[in-house]
């Protein structure tokens, strides 16, 4: 019991220690505007990492999310140039993301391909498709469309909209994982797939749905980042899958599936976000940020191992 509690609290302790350390090093850290900046920069990763949490809880992995983000961005930008109403466009792009994820899920479940390989293939295909679609150049998105720009740049009650969207996603994901049948199935599948199957669970359907959720949230992240930049870049989201995986892992979710929490993923993303912010504040070159991120991931995983044994 104590070990479980310690494992649960570790990301929180890590976050607090890191924040205190950063606050001591830089007086600019603990200002409202800086903290909001950190949150806004982290929000896209949190949205993607939420979907990734579902996938990893089942014992899978999704490398295609960064490419889905970019693909969703260019499709969104294209739709904005047409007569299609904004709300319909948004719905279509989200649906597209979910559909791509579900197809990936089918390849994994029906085609019996390992998640790593299947999502890796989709990552490559979609990145290529995005480059083809956009001719390899950034596409303007939502110039003059205030409603769309609001999703990325707007404020509601002094809080940036991406942060509010992130909170909404987190709240729904928490509810689903904690209080619904689907959530319980996700944990069951990751805990023991064969036992889940013999308990009468439709394991393939559940798995497919989980990749659908991941695709949907990656597309949502694509919408937010396109709205924020007022343009869709075909190379957007490169490497985001690794940031998302990092957030999930640092947040204490087991890569072998079955155990983990959405709150951990938020904390994991914040740890990485604050670390990046701190290195910026301290004028450390960005190359070092990669080293720091890698070291944090290693520490988190090694600590997890220690409590397991």
């Amino acid at each position: 019991m104590n070990k479980d509690l310690l494992a649960r609290l570790r990301p929180l302790i890590g976050l607090v220690l890191l924040s205190v350390a950063v606050a001591l090093c830089s007086s600019r850290f603990l200002t409202t505007s800086n903290l909001l900046t950190v949150l806004r920069q982290t929000s896209i990763n949190v949205v993607i990492a939420t979907g990734m949490t579902f996938v990893i809880l089942t014992g899978g992995i999704d490398l295609s999310v960064g490419s889905i983000l970019a693909f969703a961005g260019v499709v969104m930008a294209t739709l904005l140039g047409t007569e299609v109403p904004l709300i319909v466009s948004l719905g279509l792009v989200l649906l597209l993301g979910a559909a791509i994820g579900a197809v990936t899920g089918l390849v994994i479940t029906k085609g019996k391909v390992q998640p790593f390989i299947a999502t890796f293939a989709f990552m490559t295909v979609l990145r290529g498709a995005t480059l083809v679609f956009s001719n390899g150049t950034p596409m303007p998105a939502g110039d003059g469309d205030d409603a769309f720009a609001f999703l990325g740049e707007g404020y509601l009650l002094d809080v940036p909209v991406p942060i509010l969207l992130m909170i909404a996603v987190l709240a729904i994901a928490y509810y689903v994982l904690r209080h619904t049948r689907f959530g319980r199935y996700v944990y069951a599948l990751g805990g023991n797939e064969e036992a889940a199957r013999l308990s009468g669970l439709r394991t393939r359907l559940i798995k497919t749905a989980v990749y659908g959720v991941s695709g949907l949230l990656a597309a949502m992240a694509g919408i937010i980042s396109t709205a924020r930049l007022s343009s869709a870049t075909p190379t957007a989201g490169t490497g985001f899958e690794l940031d998302a995986i990092a957030a999930v892992v640092v947040g204490g979710t087991s890569l072998s599936g079955g155990s983990g929490r959405i709150s951990g993923t938020l904390l994991g993303a914040l740890i990485i976000g604050i670390l990046n912010n701190a290195l910026n504040l301290l004028n450390v070159p960005s190359y070092y940020q990669m080293i720091a991120k890698g070291v944090i991931i290693l520490i988190a995983v090694l600590l997890d191992r220690k409590t397991e044994s």
Partner: protein, 505 residues
């Protein structure tokens, strides 16, 4: 007669082995003689394989002595045993599928040229020679993964021969072999005998035992029952030695007037089951037994939609029933409680409540998909009380429960969907005596409630004590369906070994 024989090359005395405190062998004596075949017989779980694994260096012994060629033998591991001249062919295949026959045979001790390169010529020639001796036609360069299971078994045998050991242990070597392959194996065994090797032969096939062996050692429940010259034995006397146990435990059989047929199976075919036909009534326990690997679990999985059926028809309460998945089976009113609760039954990291509720979560769903924790808890608590699960806390993580209590959770998980037909696969495996009695009472209670129960078990007393009818399976075929009154340990063993009942096919 023994006096006339030469000195034994091997003498194991008082061998005792405990697995985490539970005795698997207690004080077993065992001998083997050069130039002879010693058959080792016993029921499932009698301790034969454990004893042989100790001899082959795969297990340590808890107590006892081994004398080999008249000197004490201490082994540091399987490689040490091989070096000292003890070679074993395991029941399971241990080959590298992507390597060739020759590479597998000489794995880890490949011949090298003077320059230190792999000597392919010597490798393939050596393997070729062994294969020819066994009458195997395949080229030594064939990739093992492309061979049939029988041919792979022959490769295992070739590998064991290549050590030129003085004791060769064969654990059920003919299980996967075709008749011609068995025949060439028997020739090799006779050759080995003639050249003065000691062969230890484990088999459930009495015919082979009588054909090949010079002596027979019988084990039961981890103890030595006796060592007898084969010429002094009959099939009946061997079976009596194997099963002649007193029924000491109490089995609370209850009489229930059987209801209508719930599950009817007609000519069921699958990869592991051949033309199985039987039925189970409400309020009836049909015991299913057979030797290990007879296909009992596979039969259950085929009935449960977890293993593909290739033929036959099923019906459930008179309605056609053709499950394509366990999901379908469960929704039609079937439940399967696995023999392997840790790997296939339970979610060890989740709580008692989460495990029990999992198959029936839908009934706890309220508005906006909200799972009512209260309702789940109440249902789980009902089972915790009914099955006397200890500790009686629904939040307890299942991993921390004892084997018996884990098994109860596993059964509760099967019951929560209110099934019509319950398949219990080894319901008391790894369960202590007290919990066993509780599980028997529970099963009888379910029988009174009108469930149709299929109870798979390797434990003969349990099968005899609990069942209303007993179905015996031998190599995927139902060799007999015995009424409670007519079943004895001997009749069951004869059917399980395949001595009788084939004509019923």
């Amino acid at each position: 007669m023994d006096a006339a024989a030469g000195q034994p090359i091997l003498e194991m005395r008082g061998i005792t082995k405990q697995f985490s405190g539970i005795p698997a062998l207690s004080g077993v004596d065992f001998r083997a003689f050069p130039g002879e075949v010693m058959a080792l017989l016993g029921e499932n779980g009698a301790g034969k394989s454990t004893l042989m694994k100790i001899l082959a260096g795969a297990h340590d012994r808890t107590a006892g002595e081994i004398a080999f060629r008249g000197a004490p033998l201490e082994l540091t591991g399987p490689r040490d045993a091989q070096r000292k001249g003890i070679s074993i062919i395991h029941q399971e295949l241990n080959l590298v599928q992507d390597l060739s026959i020759a590479e597998n045979i000489f794995l880890g001790r490949e011949p090298v040229t003077r320059l230190g390169n792999l000597d392919w010529k010597a490798l393939n020639a050596g393997a070729e020679q062994l294969l020819r001796r066994l009458g195997v036609q395949a080229s030594p360069k064939t990739r093992v993964g492309t061979l049939s299971v029988g041919q792979q078994q022959m490769v295992e045998i070739a590998k064991a021969l290549s050590f030129d050991a003085s004791i060769i242990i064969m654990d059920e070597p003919t299980g996967a072999l075709a008749d011609a392959e068995s025949a060439s194996l028997f020739n090799v065994i006779r050759e080995l005998k003639a050249s003065g090797k000691a062969v230890i032969y484990i088999s459930h096939r009495l015919k082979e035992v009588f054909e090949l062996s010079d002596r027979v050692t019988v084990m039961r429940d981890g103890k030595l029952i006796g060592e007898v010259a084969t010429s002094a034995l009959t099939e009946d006397s061997v079976i009596e030695m194997m099963v002649g146990r007193r029924l000491t435990e109490r089995y609370p059989h209850v009489e229930v007037a059987p209801g209508p047929v719930r599950l009817a199976v007609d000519n069921l075919e699958s990869r592991y089951t051949h033309r199985a036909s039987f039925s189970v009534r409400g309020g009836e326990i049909v015991g299913v037994t057979g030797l290990m690997g007879a296909g009992r679990t596979e039969l259950a999985l085929a009935l449960f939609g977890a293993l593909a059926r290739t033929g036959g028809t099923l019906s459930l309460d008179g309605e056609p029933y053709a499950p394509g998945s366990p999901h379908e089976a469960v929704s039609r009113g079937m439940a399967y409680v696995s023999e392997d609760r840790k790997q296939r039954g339970l979610l060890l990291g989740l709580s008692i409540k989460d495990n029990i509720a999992l198959p029936a979560l839908k009934q706890f769903e309220r508005r906006v998909f909200y799972l009512s924790d209260q309702a789940e808890r109440a249902a789980a608590r009902g089972y915790v009380e009914k099955l006397a699960i200890r500790p009686p806390r629904e939040d307890q993580v299942v991993r921390r429960l004892s084997g018996g209590n884990q098994q109860k959770v596993s059964i509760a998980k099967g019951l929560i969907t209110a099934p019509k037909v319950l398949i219990l696969d080894e319901p008391t495996r790894g369960v202590d005596v007290g919990a066993k009695q509780e599980i028997y009472q529970l099963i009888n209670g379910l029988k009174r409630d009108g469930l149709a129960i299929l109870m798979i078990s390797s434990e003969m007393p349990e099968i005899l004590g609990m069942s209303d009818r007993i179905m015996v399976i031998h190599e995927g075929t139902v060799t007999g369906m015995l009424e409670r009154g007519e079943a004895t340990q001997e009749t069951i063993m004869r059917l399980a070994i395949g001595l009788e009942g084939r004509q019923r096919e």
